[in-house]
Symmetry: C2
Subunit: 426 residues, 2 copies
């Protein structure tokens, strides 16, 4: 396709999505759930066919010399297909939030006013490598009564096509429009440029991938973007604090997994507990090979820990998302300094205070300007499933519309509903 053809092609997807979304918004809960269960059944029965398509992507990636971990992320193993099927069944079992009316109250004029939850309309999803996202995004889109246009990475194109075909068959079988889920069939990069600049057809785009991709999309998009760029999450160990708990939670927040955006990248320790706490957590980090980038006070307290990799932190370290066995550590005077540091250097993603002090806990929750704020829990809990959303389409560090883990609710909006008996405005 040339650029002109890509533009026309994307516009046609847009028109079809808009039409499908009108029908999806009126679909019954039973209809949508039947489609989700049909997708699950097909994922379970079509394993061999899906893996045959998936093998094409894997062969191509291997031949192109893609790194082994990247090739791994492409794989649709029986276990992954089963997990995807389970996810669809869980969504089918969840209550339908579309059409829900809340806060209906009578006003002095006599009218009753409330709000109805309705689908946003059409969303665009832009993602890299993992073909799982095709099913995750499609199933959330169906459950929330939206239509979606999916743009996966070129390395997974055959897998994505096979999965999208399966979803569209299930939609048709359930009497819903197949264009409720459309996969962009070209790998031309211009398709993304089109997708994010069609406000007449697309209500929001959700990019998942590297920071560069997301920055570019945010800059160029003419529609709202649900996104997060960085996860520079902090654990602040307050004074007073249960230090056994603090060691366990800090360790979990940093080392349970290094790559997720909700892993801790910064550790702040109140002066009053630093001499007791830092050598203990330092020993844990030393044992796990976590490098510690420290301010002068922290460095002094960690100097005696056997095997610790302690280096001087630079200004840059306070703002860094390592996604690796590295952590920035600073001793602070107390709560005020911790809050100030987090609001200044953090990425407004997830930050936790570990404390025994009730007033400190309340102030931290209120004053730390992040999407998720926690008391005495691991930052690793900032996740749609752990928060009880049942699913997660993305995470937002913006304040407008959805904030933090975004599930079904983030794909809906509230319109006003007025019920009268012929009332007139005076």
């Amino acid at each position: 396709m040339n650029a002109l053809n890509v533009a026309e092609y994307m516009q046609s997807l847009g028109v079809q999505a808009r039409q499908a979304s009108a029908r999806m918004s009126g679909a019954s809960a039973a209809q949508k759930n039947a489609v989700l269960r049909a997708i699950a059944a097909r994922l379970r029965s079509s394993g061999a066919a899906l893996q045959a398509e998936n093998a094409k992507d894997i062969e191509r990636a291997t031949a192109a010399g893609l790194a082994a971990p990247m090739v791994d992320r492409l794989k649709l193993t029986p276990k992954i297909l089963d997990t995807l099927a389970e996810g669809c069944e869980q969504l089918a079992a969840m209550p339908d939030i579309v059409g829900e009316i809340s806060g209906m109250t009578q006003q002095p004029s006599g009218i009753r006013v409330g709000r109805m939850r309705v689908p946003l309309g059409v969303f665009g999803m832009i993602f890299e490598s993992r073909p799982n996202v095709t099913i995750e995004a499609a199933s959330l889109s169906i459950k929330s009564g939206n239509a979606c246009i999916l743009r996966g990475g070129s390395e997974a194109i055959e897998s994505n096509k096979a999965l999208a075909r399966l979803v569209r068959e299930a939609l048709v079988e359930g009497g819903l429009p197949e264009d409720a889920v459309q996969l962009v069939q070209t790998t031309d990069r211009e398709a993304v440029g089109q997708l994010i600049t069609m406000p007449q057809f697309v209500d929001v785009v959700i990019p998942r991938g590297g920071k560069g991709l997301i920055e570019r999309i945010s800059r160029d998009a003419k529609v709202p973007v649900i996104k997060h760029l960085d996860g520079n999450c902090h654990v602040y160990v307050d004074d007073p604090c249960d230090l056994d708990m603090a060691v366990a939670v800090t360790d979990n927040a940093k080392t349970q997994k290094y790559s997720p955006c909700n892993a801790a990248e910064g550790l702040l320790v109140a002066e009053g507990v630093a001499a007791q706490f830092l050598p203990r957590i330092g020993a844990v980090f030393a044992a796990k090979g976590v490098e510690m980038r420290c301010d002068a006070r922290a460095k002094a307290l960690l100097a005696t820990v056997a095997g610790a990799q302690v280096v001087d932190a630079t200004e840059q370290d306070w703002a860094e998302e390592y996604l690796a066995p590295v952590i920035a550590i600073k001793v602070v005077d107390g709560l005020d300094a911790a809050i100030e540091h987090i609001n200044r250097y953090g990425s407004h993603h997830t930050d936790a205070i570990l404390t025994r002090d009730h007033v400190h806990a309340q102030r931290f929750l209120r004053e730390v300007d992040s999407a998720s704020v926690m008391v005495n829990a691991s930052t690793r809990f900032a996740d749609g499933f752990e928060f009880g959303l049942g699913a997660e389409i993305g995470i937002s560090t913006d304040k407008f519309h959805a904030r933090g883990p975004v599930g079904l609710e983030g794909l809906t909006s509230l319109k006003w509903v007025v019920l009268g008996q012929g009332e007139l405005r005076r």
Copy 2:
């Protein structure tokens, strides 16, 4: 100021607003309410001084040959000042929604998860002529714990300066930062361009004014915009329907005031009731001098109405916002055609069905894709006060974040709050 100076000046307002917003977000309800009451007291006691400043604007506008209705909109009469003072007192008496925690539930991991309502941060308000907006926006900003940067029209600059000074004095008296409310002191147009492109300092902009201004701002803004462009609102008279009620409500929706964005601009009538209904509403419109732009079926039924101004509607009429004694009228086959017409030509602002049929009412509410959907009530009720919001900062026809009339809640967002007892992610 030259362009460079304007840019520097606006950045300095941005820095100050950001700092003030951090303090405002932590301000207690009592402190904010005391400031609101202090503003009310000053509005009541400073009438003469405010009117002296206001007189300068009025003189300048009159000398410049501004039309009388425009000059009228500039005036700060004792009655207007009193209404503004009352508005501040009402806001002070309302519950504070900042810090409110909702939906706190325990998850299988043991953590408790809920959401806390927090201020958005800093908003920019761009408005024309009416200096009232300075007080309305400032008071909503204070109550919601935000900081704001206000950019009023050049014709009201002296009045706006005097009102902003008064607000800032009240803030200082109440121990809150005066920079929580800043008025742009230059009338240079470049200031608007800066205000809407400083995402590091401004979280959302709210323009109020002509469609051209709002389109320009939406196109150029690098921050979210809360806006509506058009109010092409419809009344659909269904079959079956109480026609006495339908005549009264349709009349109210069109003629109670012609200029508001929630006045009806289109009337759709189900075929089954058209022969009875149209001559009746036609007589009302004829008596009030409302021009009727009709499709062929409606025209035929209105032909015999004495004094009726009936003309043929063009395609353009279905999409028009007249804000005048003109209405577009179409006979439709029934509910499906009405919903299709409204979703195609409407502006997603406010639309009403007048009906006796429960199933039709439910379908209209669900399927009409507008910010406010109504059954048996006048479209003129789409208003923050009538909806019980206590105040209104603007109206949004977008689906993202706030939709319809926007009050205090639209100036806040929800962050996630997690309370644990040392839970770890497995």
